[in-house]
Amino acid sequence: MSESRVDTGRVFPKRLTMDGVTPGMEFDEVVFGPLRREDFVRYAEASGDDNPIHQNEEYARSQGAPTVFAMGMLNAGFLATALAGWIGGAQNIKRLKTRFTNRVWAGDEVACSGRVVAIEDGLVKVTVEARRRGPGPEPLNLEKEQTAIVGEADVEVPA
C-alpha cells in the first residue's frame, strides 16, 4: 500500500552534469510530511533506533518532552533524499554532515533546502538545511518554522 505523502515529483532524481551547476544556485525546496507518529514507528523499525522517546507518549513526557518527536536521523534521511533528487542521485553524494538544532514534532512538515556554495577540485560543495514547519505541540508555543538541521555535503557530479 503506497502512502507516500512526500513531494515525489522531486525525489525522483533528474540527471545532472557539471554544466548545470553554478556557485550560488539554489535548489527547489522539497517538503516531506506532515509527519505522523506512524512515520516515527516505521523509521524505528527500519533503522533500529527504538528509543521510546520517539514512540511512547508517556515515556516522552517522563523525559520532559510534551509529546513524541522525530529521530534526528529520520530528518537527516529526508534531507539526504532531497539532496539526491537535486544532484542527480544518491550515488553522487560523497559526504553529508548534519547538525541537529531543533526537534521536529508530529504534525510538522520537514522542508528541505540546499544551495551550491562552491566547486572545488571537481567536488560540488553544498549547504543544506531542514526546517520544521507546523503548529508544534501546544504547550511549547513554538514559532511556526524553525531550523531542525543545518548541514553540508560534498557531491561528485559527472562532467
Binding site: V11, M73, A76, T81, A84, I93, L96, R99, F100
Partner: protein, 149 residues
C-alpha cells in the same frame, strides 16, 4: 573491561534497504531497488541510501557500545548532536560490510549558558569483502551539564 574497538558485520539486504528507503521518503527512487536503473547510472546493482549506515544500531546496541567502548555516558542528558558520513561508494545490496567502531573524539567544552558539555564521537569505518573502504560514519553525542534540562 573496556576495549578499543567493536567489530561487526552489516549485511545489506534488499528488503531492509527497501523499508529504510521508504521510511526516508525515497520509495520513488529506483536506485535502491531496481537493478536496471542502478546499472544505467553505472552502478553494479541497487544500493543502500546514504544514511543507511545508522542501522549499525541493530548490530551494536547502545548497551554493548557503552560496556565495550566505555564512554560512560549518562543517557538521561545525552542528545544526538551531529552525524557525518564520508562515502567512497554506497553499499551494494547483497554484500556484507565489516564495521569497526571506536571512539574518535571525546572532549568537554564550556557551554554559552554556563555548564560544560561533553562531545563524544563514535567513528565506524565500513569496509567491503576486499578490505576496501566503503564509508565512514561519525556519530556525535552531546552530554549536557547536570543542571540543564
Amino acid at each position: 573491561m573496556a576495549q578499543d574497538t567493536i567489530d561487526f558485520d552489516l549485511p545489506i539486504e534488499a528488503d531492509h534497504v527497501a523499508r529504510f528507503a521508504a521510511a526516508v521518503g525515497a520509495e520513488q527512487d529506483p536506485i535502491f531497488s531496481d537493478p536496471q536503473a542502478a546499472q544505467e547510472l553505472g552502478l553494479p546493482g541497487p544500493v543502500a541510501p546514504p544514511t543507511f549506515g545508522v542501522t549499525q544500531i541493530f548490530h551494536v546496541p547502545r548497551g554493548e557500545r557503552e560496556s565495550r567502548l566505555g564512554a560512560n555516558l549518562d543517557y538521561g542528558r545525552v542528545l544526538h548532536g551531529e552525524q557525518e558520513f564520508l562515502i567512497k561508494r554506497l553499499p551494494l545490496v547483497g554484500e556484507t560490510l565489516r564495521g569497526e567502531m571506536r571512539i574518535a573524539k571525546d572532549f568537554t567544552k564550556e557551554g554559552k549558558r554556563g555548564g560544560s558539555m561533553r562531545f563524544v564521537t563514535y567513528e565506524t569505518r565500513f569496509t567491503d569483502a576486499d578490505g576496501d573502504e566503503v564509508m565512514t560514519a561519525l556519530y556525535t553525542l552531546i552530554e549536557t551539564a547536570k543542571d540543564v534540562g
